[in-house]
């Protein structure tokens, strides 16, 4: 069975990144934006894993560290989601809305 090449992983990751970015930049709802952020995390995590899998030597320190970083990304994403959702919740209580365009009190 022919194994899928590195570039197909990178393509999927790039697609995920683009989708996530579009979601973050375009969605009005702050929850949707957070979902976009999760996509971007996962795109980067996929890149780490792919590069580690296709490293020249499996005994190289880089091969294992990529996978470790991917694990860190997952953990971080979970923590980020918890903090961000708490912020969103308290923000929602303040302005009774989850529309990101209304959250503009830092306007200059």
């Amino acid at each position: 069975m022919e194994m899928a090449g590195l570039h197909s992983y990178l393509l999927i990751a790039a697609f995920l990144f683009c989708a996530g970015s579009a979601c973050v930049l375009m969605k009005r709802n702050v929850i949707h934006m957070l979902m976009g952020v999760e996509l971007i995390f996962n795109a980067s995590a996929l890149n780490f894993v792919a590069f580690s899998r296709f490293a020249p030597s499996q005994l190289d320190v880089f091969a294992i560290s990529g996978q470790v970083v991917a694990l860190f990304v997952i953990v971080l994403a979970a923590a980020e989601a918890a903090v961000a959702l708490a912020l969103v919740l308290s923000l929602f209580q303040m302005i009774k809305s989850s529309d990101v365009s209304k959250m503009s009190s830092l306007k200059g």
Binding site: L25, M26, S101, S104, G108
Partner: protein, 669 residues
């Protein structure tokens, strides 16, 4: 030789003055009399003791009390010295002063402000003693000013009467003119002597030693010696009532009579002669000044004597007589006979104090009547006063062997050797003196009674405290001159020998025959003056009324004292007022104008500067603010609070940076 009694001679009356002034009312009249007179008597005793020490040791007694002025240039001590001249003056001052204090206890027995009177009198004693005991000219000047102050205070003693207060003011202001000249003279002496010799000092000892150096310096076209002595002489004319500054002395009679006797006859007014004698070595270097002094003295003597001829106020007669006798003393100094001048100071102190005190006794007896036209026939009522006044009058007229004869004769003899014209002036003055003095005797004590019965019955002899003093002074007026007999008599000439150590003494030269004839002439003139007064006022050989009418112009002139007061009023007082008025106009128009214009100009400048600040400086500040604000306005559009825009910007920037990195680094590398 150090002798700290000298300080106590001055401190006694000074302490008494303070005590009497502060506690006089509480102590009471009796105690004040004791303290005031006692302090002066104590001072007299100390003075006599010091003089005895001086005679015993043949050394000048000195006492340096403390360093007064200590500058880089010079040092001046508060220091006293007792040389033969000071001895003489101190004895006169404390001796006559004690007598007058005792007399005052009787004379001022009914005065309410007795403590003020005695305090001032004591203060005067202290100041006068400072003047004569000072060992440097600066301290002497303190005394000089101090006696002026006391004179002012005592002339205006009855200040509730406006005229008396004015008389005090006049004395003060006229004296100030003289004092100004005096201090100019003193400082010129100090300065020229310092520059010439490098000795910067006010001490009489140093002045005596180094003042030769100023003779060759020229100031204002004359020798500095002449300038200095002339200025000091002007100072002396103020204090000793000479032309042209004599006008205050007759008015000074407004004070109590014992004050007139002490200050305005016996002591203070002679300080001018004391000054000249003290600096006789200096005056000897300036013959031009001596010439001026002789003529001013002679003319004053004559001038004042003529005024005295027609005065009706008994004290005014004595006042002009004092001016006249002071003129005599200056005449003596002017011909270089300083010792004779001092001799006349001494004898005059006795007989003029006696005359004033006797006149005071008359005034006291007549309940403060001073006009001789309202007296007459008083000799039976107040015999002691009459006899003593008569002795005083004989003494001042210059009748042998009374004190005035010796001093006057000595002066005339010295003047004869110097200038015949001055001698004639002196002789005429002597005749007039005898005439007006006996006129006052005859008008007051002889002739008809011109007093109403009511007043006549109240006339009473003065208390013993006063008559005793009169008799003592009468005794001194008799024997006071016996210390310097005319040369031809070959008797004592103790006085000039005594003074020789401190005053320049020129011995008169001339034949005994000339001296005898001059003595006889002056004696004759004096006696004929007395005889003339007797003929006119007792035997009424001529009617005085008729005499007045025939010589009405002269009489009017004399009665108005040659209109000098009026002229001074017109020239100096009104002139000063006019001058100050024009100064006031100058001040208002010009000075105020300049000030106002300056302020206007300043306001304009300030306005210009304010505009610059407002428009230019503030404009720049506002402009920078405006620029910042507009940039802010533009920039704030980006900062719109939309997080997605920020993210998009960030992403775009990342994209651009990545593109640039790829293009310039990755592809190039």
């Amino acid at each position: 030789m150090e002798n700290n009694l000298l300080l106590w001679i001055i401190l006694c009356p000074l302490i008494s003055s303070v005590v009497v002034r502060l506690f006089g009312k509480t102590l009471g009249r009796k105690a004040v009399h004791w303290v005031a007179s006692g302090s002066v008597l104590l001072s007299f005793a100390l003075a006599v003791t010091s003089v005895a020490q001086f005679v015993g040791s043949h050394h000048i007694q000195v006492h340096k009390v403390f360093l007064w002025l200590d500058t880089d240039l010079f040092q001046t001590w508060v220091g006293f010295q007792l040389d033969s001249l000071s001895c003489l003056m101190v004895c006169i001052i404390t001796g006559v002063g004690s007598l007058i204090h005792i007399y005052s206890t009787g004379y001022m027995a009914h005065e309410k402000a007795f403590e003020r009177y005695f305090a001032y009198l004591n203060l005067f004693m202290a100041m006068m003693l400072t003047l004569v005991l000072a060992d440097n000219a600066l301290l002497m000047f303190v005394g000089w000013e101090g006696v002026g102050l006391c004179s002012y205070l005592l002339i205006g003693f009855y200040y509730s009467d406006h005229q008396n207060a004015d008389a005090g003011k006049k004395a003060f202001v006229v004296n100030r003119v003289g004092d100004f000249a005096f201090i100019i003279g003193l400082l010129t002496l100090f300065w020229t002597m310092g520059i010439q010799t490098g000795v910067w000092s006010f001490d009489f000892q140093d002045i005596k030693e180094y003042s030769w150096a100023i003779e060759n310096v020229h100031l204002f076209g004359v020798s500095a010696a002449v300038f200095v002595t002339l200025m000091m002489f002007i100072g002396a004319t103020g204090k000793s009532a000479q032309i042209p500054l004599y006008v205050w002395l007759p008015d000074a009679m407004a004070g109590p009579t014992p004050v007139s006797a002490l200050i305005h006859a016996a002591t203070m007014v002679t300080s001018g002669i004391y000054l000249i004698s003290r600096l006789s070595f200096l005056f000897d270097m300036a013959p031009a000044t001596l010439h001026v002094i002789a003529w001013i003295g002679g003319l004053t003597a004559l001038f004042a004597a003529t005024i005295a001829l027609v005065q009706n106020d008994i004290k005014k007669v004595l006042a002009y007589s004092t001016v006249s006798q002071l003129g005599y003393m200056f005449l003596a100094c002017g011909v270089g006979a300083y010792a004779s001048g001092m001799f006349h100071v001494t004898t005059h102190a006795f007989f003029k104090a006696l005359l004033f005190l006797a006149a005071g006794s008359v005034i006291h007896a007549c309940h403060h009547e001073q006009d001789m036209r309202k007296m007459g026939q008083l000799k039976s009522k107040i015999p002691s006063t009459y006899k003593t006044y008569l002795i005083g009058a004989i003494a001042i007229s210059g009748v042998f062997p009374f004190a005035g004869f010796f001093s006057k004769d000595e002066i005339l003899w010295q003047v004869w050797n110097h200038s015949k014209a001055l001698w004639i002036i002196g002789l005429v003055t002597a005749g007039m003196t005898a005439f007006y003095m006996f006129r006052s005797v005859f008008l007051t004590f002889w002739g008809d009674r011109r007093m109403d019965d009511h007043h006549w019955n109240q006339v009473h002899e003065s208390p013993a405290s006063m008559t005793a003093v009169l008799w003592i002074l009468a005794g001194l007026s008799l024997i006071g001159g016996w210390v310097w007999w005319p040369g031809f008599m070959q008797l004592s000439s103790f006085f000039p020998h005594w003074l020789e150590s401190s005053v320049v003494v020129h011995h008169a030269h001339g034949s005994h025959a000339a001296e005898i004839s001059l003595t006889l002439i002056s004696l004759g003139v004096a006696l004929s003056g007395i005889a003339l007064a007797y003929q006119i006022y007792v035997r009424k050989l001529f009617s005085t009324q008729k005499l007045k009418e025939t010589l009405s112009f002269v009489h009017r002139c004399l009665e108005h004292k040659y209109y000098v007061d009026e002229a001074y009023e017109k020239i100096w007082v009104q002139g000063t007022k006019k001058l100050s008025q024009s100064f006031s106009i100058f001040d208002q128009r010009i000075v105020d104008g300049v000030v106002n214009w300056t302020s206007r100009a300043l306001k304009f400048c300030v306005f210009v500067m304010g505009s610059f600040d407002r428009f230019v400086v503030d404009g720049l500040v506002n402009l920078s603010g405006y620029i910042t604000a507009s940039i802010g306005l533009m920039v704030r559009k980006i900062q719109n609070g939309q997080i997605q825009l920020y993210l998009a910007t960030m992403l775009a920037a990342c994209g651009v940076l990545t593109a640039l990195w790829v293009k310039y680094y990755l592809l190039q590398g």
